[in-house]
C-alpha cells in the first residue's frame, strides 16, 4: 500500500475550521484551509459579544485568526470551492477552483487606500446590509488575510485602485485558477446559513424597517458596527425604549419544514438583551419564547441573571403575527399570555433566526459523495459524530447540527484528531521546519539600533510626517541607522532590513509602524534570519496611537510619534538576548477515567501512535454507558460499548489500570510523573499530558417519596425496567428537573429532557395504551432531538409545563400515589394517579473532582465541575499547559458530545505529544534566589501554576517552571522583596521607556 499523505484539507474557515487547522498544523500535518469568502473567521467575526462570558467575539477570535494566517504549515486558499474529490482515505486528490481576487495576496499590505478612493458603493454584507462598502474591500478591519478583494459584481473597472495602490498589488487580469491538492484527510466545517426571515411573512421582515434579524442586531450592538455601538432603530435612527425578541424564527417550525431546534438562539437572544441593556439601562427587553433552552455550562445562571439582575422579561408564547403602526413605525407584537390574546407595542423587534445548512450543502455532498440528513445537514451517527459517510472525510461545527461556538470548537479539535489518526504514519512528512543562521553574540557590544519607520502607504504617512520622525530618530543616542519605508512589512523591506542589519552591524532593531499583536512575529522572524536574537527587537505603534486617533492633527501626531519612538528606543538600548528553553516531551498520555470519554480519548491517542495509560477506579471499564440500553437513534449502546472496551483492551499502546486511583502528580507539561494506587500497590508512570475524564454521578433524590415508595424510580431505573421486561404501568408520570435548576443545583443537567423523551417513546412502543405525562419546566430537546419530542407528543405523550411556584405535589393515599399537577391551560390543580413515577434526576459533579483538581492544580467551576481555560474557545484545555478535559467531568452531555470532546482532548494533547521537545517562551519570570524570602505570594498569584517552591540550602525558594510561565509578570510586580524580574519587561527597561516618554515636553501639552 502506498504511503499516506500527511496533509489535510479543511473546508470552511470559520471558528471550527480554524481550530481544526491549528490543531493539525501544530501536530505535524500540512493544512490547506479553504473558504469561499475572501477571508477566514466565519460568522463569529460578525458577533458583538459571546455568552455566557460576555467576551468580545472579535477580541478572543483575532489571535486565532492571526495564528492561522501566519502558521508556516497552514495555507489559506480563499475564494475557492471544491470541484471534485477522487481517491480514498489517506489519498485524496482534490480539484479546486479559486475565483480571482484581483489582488496579489503577496503584495497587498492591507493599507486600505484603494477602498478610500473607490467610487463604487454597494451593500455591506458584513454589516448585514445596514451600511455600505466599496467595490474593493476587506470584510472587516481585522480580516485575515488582510488582503483586499474586488467584488467583480459591483466593480465597473475604472482602474482607480490600481493607480492608488503603491504596493502594485492590483491585477485585473487574474483568472479563475484550478488547484489540485493531494491530501490524506478532509474536514468539513462549512458552517451554516442564517434562516431567511422573509420566509416568515407574518413577522414583516423586509416590509417593516424596525424588524431586524438577530445577526443584524449583533452588528447594531457592535462598537465597530454601523451605528458605532449605539442601539438604534433602522427606520429613523432613534434609540428604542422597548425591544422584543421573537424566538424560534425558522426553528421548531413544521410549517416551513425546519422541525429542529437551532440550539444557540435562546442563549444569543438572552445575551443580546443583556448587552442591549448594558448599552442603555432604561431599555425594556422582552423575549417571547416556547422553551428557554439554556442547557449549556453555566447557561442557566446567565438566564437567571438576565431575568433578575437585568430585568429582561420572558414571555412563554409563540408569536403568531407582528403588525406595524404606520406613523411611528413601532411594531405590534401579538401573543398569548395566560391563554388570553394580547398585543404589545415595541420600538424594535429582533427575530432570533435559526440555522440552516450551508447554501451549497447538496452540491458539496454530491461532490464529496457524503450523506446528508433530512434537513440537509451532514449525516453522522451517535457513536461516530465526527465521521461522514465517506471514510477519511470528517465533519465539525454547525454543518453536522446547529450548535454554539464552544461545541463547534470542541468538535473541530475532535475532527482534527480523527483526521490525524487516519494519516498518523505521515506525520511531519509535509511540514516544513525552518533553518536559521547561528545567533550572533552581541554581548559587550555598544547598542547599535536600527529604526525603520513605516508610512503604511498613506495610512501613517498621510498624517504623521514620517521623514521628519526619521530625521529626529537619527539624533537619538545609539541609533546607528534610521530610514522610512512605504511598507515596512512588505516582502522586499524584509530583505532590506536583513541587509541593513548586516551592513551597519546593527545589534538591535526597532520598527515604528502598527501593532505588535499582528506584526511582531514577522519582524522577529526577519531579525532572526539576520542572525539576531528575537528579543533584540521592539515595536512602536505609531499607526493606532498616532495616525488613526489623531487623524486631523498632523503636527501633534508627528510629535507624539517622535515621543513613542524615542521611548521605545530607550527601552531597546537595554534589551538583552533571551533563550527560548526547550523541554523534552514524554510522548505518553495519562487518561483519568475509564468511561466512554476516557476510553475514546485513550483510543484516539493510541491511533495517533502515542502510548496511553487509562486509569479507572472501578473494576471495569464503561462508566455510565453500562446503564444505557437503547438510544433515541437506532444504534445499540451495549453492543458499541462492548466493541469499544474490546478495542481498548486489545490495543497494545493502551495500558489499562483498573481499581486504580491517582495518589500523586508531579511535574509539568511534557514531563509528568504520576503515582497510581492500585489497591495499596503503588505504581509510577511518566507521561507528557493528562486528560481528565472522571465523569459525573447521578443525583440520589430525596424528593417525591423516592426510596420510600418503590413506584417512584429514576429514569435510569425506568430504563432498566423497560429493558428487562419489568414494566407494566398504565399511567406513567415523569417529573423533570429533579435536583436540577433548584437552589441547591441551579444548573440544567442537559440530558434529562431527551432521556425522558427516549423513555416515553419506549413506553409508547411497548405499551401504546399507557398514558405518559411529562411534567417539565422547559423542554430542552435541542438540535435534532426536537424531532423526538415532536414524535412523543404526536404519539400522545402529554407534556405539562410547571414552574417553581407550582411544583407537582405527591402524596401516598390508600396505597396509591396521588400526584396533583397545576394545569396551566385550564388553571386548576389536576389529580393524576400514576402507577409509576419516573424522576429525571440531576447529573452531579464527581465528588472526586476536588481531590483530583487539587492534585493537578486545576480549577473547578462554582458547580464543582472542572473549569476549562476559556468557556468559548478553549473548551477542553485547562489554563495549565498539558492538562485537558472531556466528557461529563466538564459538564453533563450526551454520548455524541462526550465522544467529540474526548477526541478533542486527544487532538489538543497531540499538539504536545507530537513534538520531541517544546519550545517555550523566553520572556518569562526570573527569580533571584538571594532576594527570595520564600513567602509564596508569587506562587499564589500565578494563574498558570508556573511557580513552585524549592528547597535551597534548607529554605523554600521560588522556582519558575519555564515550561508553564507565560510571561505575564504578575509575580514580579507582587514580589515583596523584588526578587523576581520579568525578562524583556524588566523594571529598568520599563522605566527607561517611561522616562524617555516624558523627557521632552511635547508642544501640544
Amino acid at each position: 500500500m502506498k504511503d499516506k499523505v500527511g496533509a489535510v484539507l479543511v473546508v470552511g474557515g470559520g471558528i471550527a475550521g480554524i481550530q481544526a487547522s491549528l490543531d493539525l498544523a501544530n501536530s505535524g500535518f500540512r493544512v490547506y484551509l479553504l473558504d469561499e469568502s475572501p477571508s477566514i473567521g466565519g460568522t463569529m467575526t460578525q458577533l458583538d459579544k459571546t455568552f455566557p462570558t460576555n467576551d468580545c467575539a472579535m477580541c478572543i477570535l483575532a489571535p486565532k485568526l492571526v495564528m492561522a494566517g501566519r502558521h508556516p504549515n497552514i495555507e489559506l486558499i480563499m475564494g475557492a470551492e471544491i470541484k471534485s474529490v477522487e481517491g480514498e482515505e489517506g489519498h485524496f486528490q482534490v480539484a479546486l477552483v479559486r475565483k480571482p481576487r484581483y489582488i496579489d495576496e503577496e503584495k497587498c499590505t492591507g493599507c486600505g487606500v484603494c477602498a478610500r478612493k473607490c467610487p463604487i458603493e454597494g451593500i455591506d454584507e458584513f454589516n448585514e446590509g445596514l451600511g455600505e462598502r466599496t467595490a474593493i474591500y476587506v470584510k472587516y478591519p481585522q480580516a485575515v488575510p488582510l488582503v483586499y478583494a474586488i467584488d467583480r459584481d459591483k466593480c465597473i473597472g475604472c482602474g482607480t485602485c490600481q493607480e492608488v495602490c503603491k504596493a502594485g498589488a492590483v491585477k485585473y487580469d487574474e483568472k479563475e485558477k484550478r488547484i489540485a491538492l493531494h491530501v490524506g484527510s478532509i474536514i468539513l466545517s462549512p458552517g451554516f446559513e442564517e434562516f431567511d426571515p422573509k420566509l416568515k411573512g407574518e413577522y414583516g421582515y423586509g416590509r417593516y424597517s424596525n424588524v431586524v434579524s438577530s445577526i443584524e442586531f449583533e452588528r447594531i450592538l457592535s462598537a465597530s458596527g454601523p451605528y458605532g455601538g449605539i442601539v438604534l432603530r433602522p427606520s429613523d435612527g432613534k434609540v428604542p425604549r422597548k425591544i422584543a425578541f421573537i424566538q424560534c424564527v425558522g426553528s421548531r417550525d413544521a410549517k416551513i419544514g425546519n422541525n429542529y431546534c437551532s440550539s444557540a438562539c435562546c442563549m444569543y437572544a438572552i445575551k443580546e438583551a443583556i448587552i442591549a441593556k448594558e448599552h442603555n439601562p432604561d431599555l425594556q427587553c422582552t423575549i417571547f419564547f416556547m422553551d428557554v433552552r439554556a442547557y449549556g455550562k453555566e447557561f442557566d445562571a446567565y438566564y437567571n441573571r438576565a431575568e433578575e439582575e437585568y430585568g429582561v422579561k420572558f414571555v412563554r408564547s409563540r408569536v403568531p403575527q407582528i403588525g406595524e403602526v404606520l406613523e411611528s413605525q413601532n411594531l405590534l407584537v401579538k401573543y398569548v399570555e395566560d391563554e388570553n390574546p394580547a398585543t404589545e407595542e415595541f420600538n424594535l423587534v429582533v427575530l432570533s433566526v435559526g440555522m440552516r445548512p450551508p447554501k451549497h450543502a447538496e452540491e458539496l455532498a454530491k461532490t464529496l459523495d457524503i450523506k446528508l440528513n433530512k434537513y440537509n445537514f451532514c449525516s453522522s451517527e451517535t457513536f461516530s459524530p465526527l465521521e461522514t459517510s465517506r471514510p477519511g472525510i470528517y465533519v465539525c461545527g454547525a454543518f453536522s447540527s446547529p450548535k454554539d461556538i464552544p461545541e463547534s470548537v470542541a468538535q473541530a479539535s475532535g475532527a482534527a484528531a480523527k483526521a490525524a489518526s487516519s494519516i498518523s504514519s505521515a506525520r511531519e512528512m509535509l511540514t516544513t521546519v525552518k533553518e536559521y543562521p547561528p545567533e550572533r553574540d552581541v554581548s559587550g557590544e555598544e547598542p547599535r539600533i536600527g529604526v525603520f519607520v513605516c508610512h503604511c502607504g498613506i495610512n501613517i504617512g498621510g498624517v504623521v510626517n514620517v521623514p521628519e520622525v526619521v530625521e529626529y530618530v537619527k539624533t537619538l543616542p545609539n541609533v546607528a541607522y534610521a530610514e522610512h519605508n512605504l511598507y515596512t512589512c512588505s516582502e522586499d523591506t524584509q530583505k532590506r532590513i536583513h541587509e541593513i542589519i548586516k551592513e551597519h552591524n546593527l545589534n538591535r532593531v526597532v520598527v515604528a509602524s502598527c501593532t505588535p499583536r499582528t506584526h511582531e512575529p514577522l519582524f522577529r522572524e526577519t531579525v532572526r534570519e539576520a542572525g539576531l536574537n528575537i528579543y533584540l527587537f521592539e515595536m512602536a505603534n505609531i499607526r493606532d496611537q498616532c495616525s488613526w486617533v489623531h487623524m486631523h492633527e498632523h503636527e501633534e501626531a508627528t510629535e507624539k510619534a517622535k515621543d513613542l519612538v524615542r521611548s521605545i528606543v530607550a527601552k531597546t538600548r537595554l534589551l538583552k538576548p533571551l533563550k527560548k528553553p526547550m523541554i523534552d516531551v514524554t510522548p505518553i498520555g495519562l487518561v483519568i477515567g475509564g468511561g466512554l470519554s476516557g476510553m475514546t480519548a485513550a483510543l484516539e491517542l493510541a491511533k495517533q501512535d502515542f502510548e496511553a495509560h487509562l486509569v479507572e477506579k472501578e473494576k471495569e471499564l464503561g462508566g455510565h454507558l453500562r446503564h444505557i440500553h437503547y438510544l433515541l437513534g437506532s444504534e445499540d449502546p451495549q453492543e458499541r460499548l462492548g466493541s469499544i472496551i474490546k478495542e481498548v483492551t486489545e490495543n497494545e499502546k493502551i495500558h489499562v489500570h483498573l481499581n486504580s486511583e491517582l495518589s500523586d502528580v508531579e511535574g509539568y507539561v511534557g514531563n509528568f510523573k504520576t503515582t497510581l494506587n492500585n489497591d495499596g500497590e503503588k505504581k509510577e508512570i511518566k507521561h507528557g499530558v493528562v486528560i481528565v475524564a472522571t465523569g459525573a454521578m447521578e443525583y440520589n433524590p430525596n424528593e417525591y417519596l423516592y426510596g420510600v415508595d418503590e413506584r417512584v424510580v429514576t429514569q435510569r431505573e425506568l430504563e432498566e425496567r423497560l429493558t428487562n421486561g419489568g414494566f407494566n404501568a398504565k399511567t406513567v408520570v415523569m417529573i423533570q428537573c429533579v435536583g436540577s435548576r433548584n437552589g441547591e443545583h441551579p444548573y440544567c443537567s442537559r440530558i434529562c429532557c431527551s432521556q425522558a423523551v427516549k423513555n416515553a417513546l419506549k413506553i409508547k412502543e411497548l405499551s401504546p395504551e399507557t398514558d405518559v405525562y411529562v411534567l417539565y419546566k422547559d423542554m430542552r430537546t435541542y438540535g435534532f432531538l426536537e424531532d423526538y419530542y415532536r414524535e412523543a407528543a404526536s404519539k400522545g405523550v402529554l407534556f405539562i409545563n410547571y414552574d417553581d411556584e407550582n411544583r407537582p405535589r405527591l402524596v401516598q393515599e390508600n396505597g396509591k400515589l396521588k400526584l396533583t399537577v397545576w394545569e396551566p391551560v385550564i388553571k386548576t390543580w389536576t389529580p393524576i394517579e400514576p402507577d409509576l413515577l419516573a424522576l429525571s434526576v440531576a447529573t452531579l459533579p464527581n465528588p472526586d473532582n476536588e481531590h483530583i483538581a487539587k492534585m493537578l492544580k486545576v480549577p473547578l467551576s462554582k458547580d464543582k465541575f472542572f473549569l476549562e481555560a476559556h468557556m468559548k474557545l478553549r473548551p477542553v484545555d485547562f489554563a495549565t499547559e498539558g492538562i485537558f478535559l472531556c466528557g461529563l467531568a466538564h459538564w453533563p452531555k450526551s454520548i455524541e458530545e462526550s465522544i467529540s470532546q474526548a477526541c478533542a482532548a486527544a487532538a489538543r494533547a497531540a499538539t504536545i505529544l507530537s513534538k520531541e521537545a517544546l519550545e517555550v517562551e523566553g520572556a518569562i519570570a526570573n527569580v533571584n534566589e538571594d532576594f527570595c524570602s520564600g513567602c509564596k505570594i508569587c506562587e499564589s498569584v500565578c494563574a498558570y501554576n508556573a511557580i513552585e517552591m524549592k528547597e535551597v540550602d534548607g529554605k523554600p525558594r521560588a522556582h519558575v517552571l519555564e515550561a508553564l510561565c507565560k510571561g505575564c509578570g504578575v509575580c514580579g510586580s507582587s514580589c515583596p522583596t523584588g526578587a523576581i524580574s520579568m525578562l524583556n519587561f524588566t523594571d529598568d527597561q520599563i522605566l527607561a521607556q517611561v522616562r524617555a516618554a516624558l523627557k521632552e515636553e511635547t508642544k501640544y501639552d
Binding site: 467610487p119 451600511g131 465597473i156 449605539i230 438604534l232 433602522p234 435612527g237 434609540v239 486631523h552
Partner: protein, 257 residues
C-alpha cells in the same frame, strides 16, 4: 421691460469670436450683461468653478466650446460635456433650475451662431427670472444645496467617475469590457444622489448637532435613508456622535484638514 439676466460665459480660446477679442464691435457686445471668461479649453471648466459662479449671483452660466469632434486639445470639449451633464444632474437636486446652465458648441468664425446661442440662452434664463442666489437675500435653501453640490464636486468620488466615464464607455474598463452608457448613468445617478445628500448632511451638522429625524425633516427625506448616510459619514470619519438627547442621537461634523 423683460428681466435682463446676468450671464457668465466660459469660452475657449479657440471658439472665442474675434470680435470680442479685438474690435469690441461684434454681435456679442449686443448683450451687455454677459461676462466672458476665457479659458484655453472648456475642458478646464471645473464643476466647482461653475457652482461658485452661481453662488456669486450669476443668473445663467453658458459654456461654449468647439464643435465635436474638433477640439484644439483633442477632446477637451467632450470631457467638458460629461462634466456639465453631471453638473446639471447635481444642480437639479439643489432647487436651482438646471436650465440656468448650458453647454453649446461654436467655432470662432460662427459669430451668428454665437448670437443665436446667447440670445436663446438669455431668453431661457430671462423666463426663469432672477437666480434665487442673486441679490442681497439669496434663497437659503438653494444656497445650501449649491454649497453642498460644490463640496461634492470637489470630492474624489464624482470626480473619479466623471474622469473615467469616457474611457470606460468608449475604450473599455480594466477587464477589457465596454461599460454601457446606461449602466454607467445608473452608477453615476446613484453616486450623485448619495454624495449630494451626504454633503448636505455634513453642512447641516457643521455648526450644530442634529438628529436623524431633524435632518430628514430638513431634507424632506426618509429618516431610514438619512441614517444610512450617517453610517457612511461616520465610517469616513466626517461626522461623529455628539450626544444623545432623549431618544435621539445628535450628530456633528468633524473638522477635516
Amino acid at each position: 421691460m423683460m428681466f435682463r439676466p446676468k450671464i457668465v460665459g466660459f469660452l475657449c480660446n479657440w471658439s472665442l469670436p474675434q470680435e470680442v477679442n479685438t474690435t469690441g464691435t461684434g454681435i456679442i457686445q449686443g448683450y451687455p450683461k454677459i461676462r466672458i471668461v476665457r479659458v484655453m479649453c472648456i475642458g478646464r471648466i471645473d464643476p466647482v468653478i461653475v457652482l461658485e459662479t452661481f453662488v456669486k449671483g450669476a443668473d445663467g452660466v453658458l459654456v461654449i466650446g468647439c464643435h465635436p469632434p474638433d477640439c484644439h486639445y483633442i477632446e477637451g470639449n467632450l470631457q467638458a460635456e460629461r462634466k456639465i451633464k453631471m453638473l446639471k444632474k447635481l444642480i437639479s437636486r439643489t432647487g436651482l433650475e438646471p436650465e440656468r446652465l448650458r453647454l453649446d458648441w461654436a467655432y470662432a468664425s460662427e459669430t451668428e451662431l454665437f448670437a443665436t446661442i446667447i440670445d436663446d440662452f438669455r431668453t431661457q434664463v430671462a423666463v426663469l427670472g432672477p437666480s434665487p442666489l442673486a441679490g442681497k437675500k439669496p434663497d437659503e435653501n438653494v444656497l445650501a444645496g449649491i454649497m453642498a453640490a460644490k463640496a461634492v464636486t470637489g470630492d474624489s468620488r464624482l470626480r473619479t467617475l466623471v474622469g473615467r466615464e469616457k474611457e470606460l464607455i468608449e475604450e473599455g474598463n480594466v477587464y477589457n469590457e465596454k461599460v454601457e452608457q446606461e449602466e454607467f448613468d445608473e452608477v453615476m445617478n446613484e453616486s450623485i444622489d448619495e454624495e449630494y445628500v451626504r454633503s448636505r448632511i455634513r453642512l447641516l451638522v457643521k455648526d450644530r448637532p442634529m438628529s436623524v429625524e431633524g435632518l430628514a425633516r430638513h431634507l424632506g427625506l426618509d429618516p431610514k435613508k438619512v441614517l444610512r448616510h450617517i453610517v457612511v459619514l461616520r465610517h469616513r470619519g466626517l461626522v461623529a456622535l455628539d450626544k444623545i438627547e432623549r431618544e435621539d442621537p445628535l450628530y456633528i461634523a468633524l473638522e477635516v484638514t
